[in-house]
Symmetry: C2
Subunit: 260 residues, 2 copies
């Protein structure tokens, strides 16, 4: 995954900030045991129901999502008929937006919105607010993987239902979303698409299953706590600490090589 | 700090993997409350004692360390007479090694080893093993900020005392080091240098204060656990979840803009 991101960074799809953000996610995934915990799986199934029940569901795609999850997005779009796919970038340029759209189309997404934005989300600085009038501007349910907190809050303020995918249960995005999924992007997209494909009923019904986001976030934090406790019980890796009076580091290979 | 890293990445000082690694550190620092916790401060004071007591102390510097901590390294070198400063890169090229050395010299480090390696650490794949015969190869105490686990273990296997600076208390580096400092790089360098400057006695004595690395790591994990518990008690940020039958997202600014 890191190699895919580094390659996407070289090609201009992913920005430097995206690499740093990915690292933050890696740390949380590590603490979560790099697996979909039961609470996340429940959230992903409810997310599938919400996307099917929505009248105008939209998934927002940034550079990291396109680099790591383009195929997952394509699969989700097949499993949720009517799901709009929209490019939405924090660090926007026309060229980058086109690159994200190209990556999505190459993975099999037929229509990509947001390359030429036609509307704005109020309350956000210029570039981050740009959306498509037939996409996010009109959405009743927005799936925002790897989103920033300000934008998540702005979408909430518009009365939209927000489903987030974010490994940090403490982030503003996770705390502001109606349905925070605390899981790794590709695993989450896979599970949501699989759940949506299993139950193709209720499309556009406008009836949304209840979801206790507070309990979901608390459960993710508990999972991390359990992982920490398990890790704290591990022994240190190396031999026991040296004694107060140490042996000198003579006769190392480094020294040996000095007298070939 | 992120901007400094992004600029250092553009100039070739920091590699893509370094940006991801920085993100991992950010996540742990966030969980630690972005402050030097009491256990870290104790570790930093013992580290200062060890560097002063060493006969041949060396600090290893990679791209991220040079980008974020060059001035801290220079300050530490002034506070610990005899401290060798050595470039040591995971992703090595001659040009990158020179860039790291240039950054250190620009910050005031007088002599920089490791630009043209003259020895090897046994048991590591080629580039990562390259060291200076008068630097790391000969060291009795190595300070390794932001080090990788394999190299930390290889240094331990050579019988060297290893002091690590790594925000992840669960990393192989933290678990293998004799003296793991779980703190952010610039804060840690600042505290070690300050402690070394306060007590200029005992230079090269070879008498090292005891340090319980297992207790130190357990304390860092407890600090993270406390932070998680505190965070779990916070209320979600946004208004309460929408009801099962939602209002439609009509009349948003996006829609308003369609009819100017």
């Amino acid at each position: 995954m890191r190699e895919a991101l580094a390659a996407a960074h070289r090609s201009g799809l992913v920005v430097s900030e995206g690499l740093v953000a990915h690292g933050r996610g890696e740390a949380f995934d590590y603490l979560l045991g790099e697996r979909t915990h039961p609470g996340a799986l429940r959230a992903e199934r409810v997310a599938a129901q919400w996307l099917r029940a929505a009248r105008h569901p939209v998934v927002s795609v940034n550079g990291n999502v396109a680099a790591l999850g383009a195929h997952g997005i394509a699969r989700l779009a097949r499993a949720v008929p009517g799901l709009a796919v929209e490019v939405n970038l924090f660090h926007r340029s026309g060229a980058r937006a086109r690159r994200v759209a190209d990556a999505l189309r190459a993975a099999g997404v037929r229509e990509v919105l947001g390359v030429r934005p036609t509307a704005r989300i109020p309350g956000l600085p210029s570039d981050r607010a740009k959306v498509d009038r037939h996409g996010i501007a009109e959405a009743d349910v927005c799936l925002v993987p790897l989103e920033d907190g300000d934008r998540t809050e702005a979408l909430r303020a518009l009365g939209k239902r927000v489903i987030s995918i974010d490994l940090n249960p403490l982030s503003r995005t996770s705390r502001a979303a109606n349905l925070p999924i605390v899981d790794e992007l590709t695993r989450a997209l896979h599970e949501i698409a699989a759940a949506a494909a299993r139950r193709p009923d209720g499309r556009g019904s406008g009836r949304f299953a209840p979801f206790d986001r507070r309990a979901a976030l608390a459960e993710a934090l508990r999972e991390i706590g359990v992982g920490l406790t398990r890790a704290a019980a591990q022994r240190p890796l190396a031999p026991p600490p040296l004694r107060a009076s140490p042996r000198r580091s003579r006769g190392t290979a480094g020294r040996r090589r000095r007298t070939p």
